[in-house]
Symmetry: D2
């Protein structure tokens, strides 16, 4: 499996009066990267929702290393750390696209829920096609680069 | 009818690297003020949605007069300009809460739609209680202060 | 002069509970398109700021025609309507990238200010290179497609 | 020392198409609460910036327990966990204001930097008045309620 890191160009409205990108936006970039990764793997998030499955975030973390400025393009690298059919966890690295300099590392945790009623869903039973993708991803993906 | 202007305290994340509040946030403040105004009038937007009616924005405009800084509290004054059961239009003034200085004027236009199917809804027929509120609002409200 | 419309892929965090992109985001897309247009024309907004010139928004408007959903890619077409050295005005059209369907039309007005002191700046005197670009843009650009 | 939890009323534009508040907004609410806490303690963040000190976020985490809906008012409780003059760490709890139900727990870490040059600043030396406030806060504040 070969995945391309997700690219994002920092917007003017993402900056704050400190003159750099506001820290909350990295959490949104993780989401953009996560959705892009699923798409590259063959899972379209809007189709998943149409099939009645949502993926709420149950935890997120970020460590900010260096600052991102307006017009910088960053690359978000992602890694599936854990997956068991009902939950999964991911890691992220945000790097400057030109220099490779590390901007931010992060993690997120998720579960699968039925859109109606919010009860837990196990992909093994309810969406074996998605399960196969997550499982093979967990087995075959490359490691993230060292976080520096 | 007596309405209190809506108060908003400018957030750090609403600023951009120009050192002032990003212009797109005023459009969000109009929405906050509109929902607050409806609530003061007795229409709770979440109840309206629960009854199957949504109020999309079909037009919006803003003129920016002076800049709002982080920690400034602004007051948003609102006025129902037109209403006919299927559409309405509003005006807004954003003023500094301390000095009264005009920050921004604006307008918005809306229609009522059924949440399912997005077909137009006439409040006169489908929600006469809401219609009565809009109609009496149109008849009785005070004018906005002069825009300076 | 040949310009490519700006492309934006609608993000999950740009939707609201109506299930479509929140109307305030189109105002941000106008900005993204405006900055991209200037860049295509040879004006880098961060360089302009570094040279002490900022471009505040003094007015904005939008008319919403149809709804944009998560994962839709839109194209933002732009047109320089007026320019006189101290102010300019633009028009925008947001269209679905696949179908060409019109999502939104809009306008914005701007002035040039000195970053320090916020006094008006005339590009003719203070940045003749930028002036030449704006002036030739005004003379040579193609019209927007009809707004339907 | 007596502090009031920070109150926030969930906005329509903070929801996403899942029908609840998007998870990235809690990170912003932490910031709102942090700034409010400092203000209650006598430190005005805009004054601090005017004195040349900024407080970047170097880490943040959140665990989402239950969902916040449009119009819900939440209370954000905060606690200063560590402080040594150059860095500090905080904890947060977001609870429904009516029921007290726990929505989210979180943490953030910060350092003090000179606005110009971004070199580390020690409050003990450069802002003893702020240091005194942080130090007495660390000594005297009440614990957060148990996280359930």
């Amino acid at each position: 499996m070969e995945f391309k890191p997700y690219q994002h160009n920092a917007k003017y409205y993402e900056t704050d009066q400190m003159g750099v990108v506001h820290h909350s936006n990295y959490i949104r970039w993780f989401e953009e990267a996560r959705i892009d990764w699923m798409e590259q793997a063959g899972i379209h998030y809007d189709e998943m929702e149409a099939r009645g499955i949502i993926i709420p975030v149950i935890g997120v973390s970020a460590e900010y290393k260096t600052m991102t400025h307006f017009r910088d393009t960053v690359e978000v690298f992602f890694h599936l750390d854990r997956y068991n059919g009902v939950r999964f966890a991911m890691s992220y690295q945000v790097r400057d696209a030109k220099t490779g300099e590390l901007r931010c590392t992060g993690t997120s945790e998720h579960c699968f829920l039925a859109r109606e009623g919010y009860r837990p869903v196990n992909l093994k039973r309810h969406a074996p096609d998605y399960h196969a993708i997550f499982a093979s991803m967990l087995a075959c993906q490359p490691e993230l680069p060292p976080a520096r």
